[in-house]
């Protein structure tokens, strides 16, 4: 598409949409520079005389007759070392560099490339000169951060013979070698480009049956997600979407994290950009920022770039996947992206179908989530990678019955339903256990064992004795929670005092589970991340307690004997205890002992 010197001019301006004419061979999706200041825009419609451009920057002051210059390129992402530990705007401009150049406020017409051009990276070849390579083959590596060896690959759809390849310090632009292709010799570089709206190719999709360990109990135990899976987290404002996405970005056991702040608050992005360089990855001990790539199009930044930011982010995720990494991507919030689509569609006077959204909304949502998955990548050596996609959804009025939520749920495997009532009583994460689901749950629970080794080598042998138990405990706990909600609705009519003791026990256990297990304070030093062994022990402690207490109740031990046990309150607190696993084991013992004591008192022999 190298066609230069194609120039036209503006004929009409209305907000972020500009009509122009004078370039006959302009392409859909082509990037153009608009006006004297060279504002960046993308061609979104072509008519016989005219074409329409969506501008990614503020258009105030733009005049008809100003120039429009076609770039010959689509909206591409620069891919190479330097993406991690970085924060970009919605179309890939580095915000730190903008701050240095322009001061604290974002002006328009800024042109700074994504990857720094002056920084040198040490490149180590792994391929041989003389070797035949094709798209996806790894030809060398460079240490991008302490956590990530950046694999330099042959761009997709390129092949040939390596005629030169050198070790040394290079910028992303410098040639690191040469490739002899059918159309001549081309330089090899550490950087490549990819049009963001196109999924990057791979060899094959693989089943994704390895759980993503997030350290968040309600997720890992009740509604788990797999590496390569997709999840939606809808909820009204203040129900905990952003905090949960931050938690997942912090603690999930993927190697690379892409976080997109899409039309949300500036201070939230500031928080991530300030905290992540200080927070340590629980597995490697390095600052989290070293595995993180941030994109920020906050709610006051131009709306059009919001739409692009989602594609930009997932392209970067795919690029690291293609290096053989497990990548997770969080988008907060996909609703703002859908609204940006709606806004552009409105300006084009397209026919709206539901709530003003265009008819192609479901297609766009599907296309986005389809870019998730675990794959066998292109190229040698053989490797697998995954992209896990987690999207926040912000339904108007917190009502899930609206187009973006509905269509998102059609295309995602996990549904974490946030609930305003839980949030009001400060039960966080406010994931409603009765409404949420994970289509991966059954498959993942039995696979938990492998992923535990990430956190503790010893654990595996410990786990072998127990992991068969795990699905059973989970089901038991869910059953108690379900039953308790039914009992509660009865209690609402007759009062709790009028309930039979076995039902009151269910309420008691449900309360322990809610407070002691489901509730997890994101900002607690100890509890922000809960390692798998601890999750399991907590669950076992509470379900054991319930089983044993049930036997007592059946044998007519009055509920007050159990409900007055101080151990009940201790179980609710132990998750935050600095004594960790040892303290839990101790409390478990204590619970057994107390229940046994009551059993003896009432001469109940069996089961306790």
């Amino acid at each position: 598409m190298e066609k230069h010197g194609r120039k036209g001019d503006i004929s009409w301006i209305s907000g972020s949409v500009v009509a122009a004419h004078g370039i006959n061979d302009v392409e859909m999706g082509e990037i153009v520079e608009v006006g004297e200041e060279g504002l960046i825009g993308e061609v979104i419609r072509i008519k016989d005389e005219e074409f329409i451009v969506e501008i990614y920057e503020n258009t105030s002051g733009l005049k008809p007759g100003e120039p429009v210059i076609a770039s010959g390129k689509r909206l591409v992402a620069e891919l190479g070392p330097g993406l991690l530990n970085n924060i970009l705007d919605g179309i890939g401009r580095p915000l730190e560099a903008i701050l240095k150049q322009k001061g604290p406020f974002i002006t328009r017409g800024v042109k700074i490339s994504t990857l720094p051009r002056n920084k040198k990276w040490h490149f180590k070849p792994t391929a041989m000169v003389g070797g035949l390579v094709e798209g996806g083959d790894i030809i060398g590596t460079t240490k991008e951060t302490n956590m990530i060896d950046h694999k330099i690959t042959v761009p997709p759809e390129t092949n040939g013979k390596i005629v030169a390849l050198e070790e040394g310090d290079f910028t992303v632009d410098d040639p690191i070698g040469k490739l002899e292709t059918v159309s001549g010799i081309v330089p090899l570089r550490m950087m490549q480009e990819w049009p963001v709206r196109l999924p990057r190719p791979f060899q094959a999709r693989l089943a994704s049956d390895e759980p993503l360990v997030t350290g968040q109990r309600v997720i890992d135990v009740f509604f788990p997600i797999s590496k390569g899976g997709t999840a939606a987290i809808p909820g009204g404002f203040g129900t905990g979407k952003t905090v949960m996405l931050h938690q997942l970005a912090r603690w999930s056991n993927t190697q690379v994290v892409v976080y997109i702040g899409c039309g949300e608050r500036g201070n939230e992005m500031c928080e991530v950009a300030t905290d992540f360089p200080k927070l340590k990855d629980p597995r490697t001990g390095y600052p989290l920022m070293e595995r993180t790539f941030l994109l920020a199009n906050t709610s006051n930044m131009p709306v059009a770039a919001r739409e692009a930011s989602i594609y930009y982010g997932i392209t970067v995720a795919e690029y690291y996947r293609d290096q053989g990494y497990d990548v997770s991507i969080m988008a907060d919030s996909t609703s703002r992206w859908a609204e940006a689509l709606r806004e552009v569609s409105g300006r084009l006077e397209e026919m709206p179908v539901e709530s003003g959204y265009p008819a192609y909304l479901p297609d766009r949502v599907a296309e986005f989530y389809e870019r998730a998955g675990r794959v066998r990548t292109l190229g040698k050596p053989q490797r697998d990678g995954s992209v896990t996609v987690i999207g926040a959804v912000s339904p108007p009025g917190g009502d899930f019955n609206e187009p973006v939520t509905i269509h998102t749920l059609r295309f995602t495997g996990v549904f974490w339903a946030l609930d305003a009532d839980l949030a009001y009583s400060r039960h966080f994460p406010a994931i409603q256990w009765l409404k949420s689901y994970s289509l991966y749950a059954n498959r993942l629970l039995s696979a938990w064992a492998q992923s535990f080794s990430d956190y503790s080598g010893q654990l595996q042998s410990w786990w072998k004795d127990f992991h068969q138990l795990f699905p059973e405990l989970r089901d038991k706990a869910l059953a108690v929670l379900n039953e308790s909600s039914e009992i509660e609705s009865i209690a609402k009519i007759i009062g709790e005092n009028a309930l039979p003791d076995d039902q009151r026990l269910i309420l008691l256990t449900a309360d322990t589970l809610k407070e002691g297990f489901l509730r997890q304070f994101a900002f607690d030093k100890v509890d922000s991340f809960c390692e798998p062994e601890k999750q399991f022990l907590l669950l076992k402690m509470m379900t054991d307690f319930h089983d044993q207490a049930s036997v007592l109740i059946k044998n007519r031990v009055p509920i007050i004997k159990i409900s007055s046990l101080p151990e009940l309150q201790k179980m609710k607190r132990i998750k935050q205890d600095e004594g960790g696993i040892a303290a839990i084991r101790q409390l478990m013992e204590q619970c057994h002992k107390e229940l046994r004591r009551i059993g003896e008192e009432y001469r109940v022999s069996s089961g306790v």
Binding site: W12, S299, E343, Y424, E496
Partner: protein, 470 residues
Amino acid sequence: MAEKLQELTGLTYRGLKEIKGSLIMIEGIEDVGYDEIVRIRAPDGVERMGRVLEVGHGRAVIQVFGREIGLQINSIVGFSGSVFKIPLSEDILGRIFNGVGEPIDGAPKIISKDKYDINGMPINPVARIYPEEFIQTGISAIDGPLSLVRGQKLPIFSESGMPHNRIVAQIAKQATVRGKKEEFALVFAAIGQRSDEARFFIEQFKSTGALERSVVVMNLADDPAVERLFTPRIALTMAEYLAFDLGIHVLTILSDMTNYCEALREMSAAREEVPSRKGYPGYLYSDLASIYERAGKVKGRKGSLTQMPILTMPGGDLHHPIPDLTGYITEGQIFLDRDLFARGIYPPINVLPSLSRLMRSGIGEDKTREDHRSVADQLYYFYSMGMKARDLSRIVGEMSLSETEGRYLKFADAFERRFINQDENENRPIEKTLDIAWELLAMFPEDNLVRIEKKYIEKYGRRMRVNAPI
């Protein structure tokens, strides 16, 4: 075709093509930019302001601010050659402006070479400093469970007839950052307010001596509705100037954003745009964000901009698009409750649907007190259980409540009466607020305070047990 006139200031034309509500079409023009500000003089002698909404070769669509009644085809349109800018200098302090930024206090115009685009520019997220300085408002319901910090945008969700103005005035009067003596200022934007409401604020500022540290931008209920689209932006441009150019800590009050949104809806309808919920345009979210996000602290600049927008929820409905979209943008919300109001609780703040998202960073050891967060959490939990118990008691009667439920219910009552409720002139330091909280928590056995660390119960809770309300 408009006739080109020779005038000194910019390009001027006579003759419109069409007038359609507050929109006018003009043809035969040249060199006009999108979003440019225009002045329109009709034969009635009234000068109106307008803004270019769409522009093509030789033609433009203009949004007229001010009254459209009286406009004629034979009007004169002057193009300013620039977007809406206002001159700013230190002299704005102590002054009163109308909704489009012209002084209305009889004192001279602001003269300055420095003119500021009222739309501002987005703050680069990496240029932000995360807000974390606790502002003590002296109101327990805010300081305890909904702490405000410098640079936060925290709206009040109210309904007409409720005392939001009094609460905001009390905050404006009492707000301090403890241990600091720094320059502060108030910027107050009246957006479509009744003149008695606007007067109330001016009187308040006067009586506390704050007026000379204040800027008032006033668009009253009988001023043209379309001007409301400018009012908050003008106020915020002034606030940004004070905060980021002059290094002052600024509290900005925008009252009432509902009127702003209605003006926006009106304009959108006039443009025949596809409406989204309840007739509001689909871009209401990003439009509101372009206002609310103009708050914060910025690297390399000394001041801060704290925003307290007030909005009245139409029909008291939290899910109405205005409070809904506001809540999605702001850093929390303070929710006023009719039921509390009816029971004589002042301030009638219902803490359950309220939230301060930045509270976490502003409280705790060295900032307020180490036990602050867990105490607030525990209050939330008990109060929410208390509300449930209250609902239940309405069905089954108080007698049928279990002992625990009964205790929750008593707690809820005491919490409203003793913690939330306070005098309009009472300025409670944070320690007092937390101590009252502990007195209330003493209604429960220590074991029940599961959201509070043991060491805090020992340190702060025990000594309060004697004062328990029952």
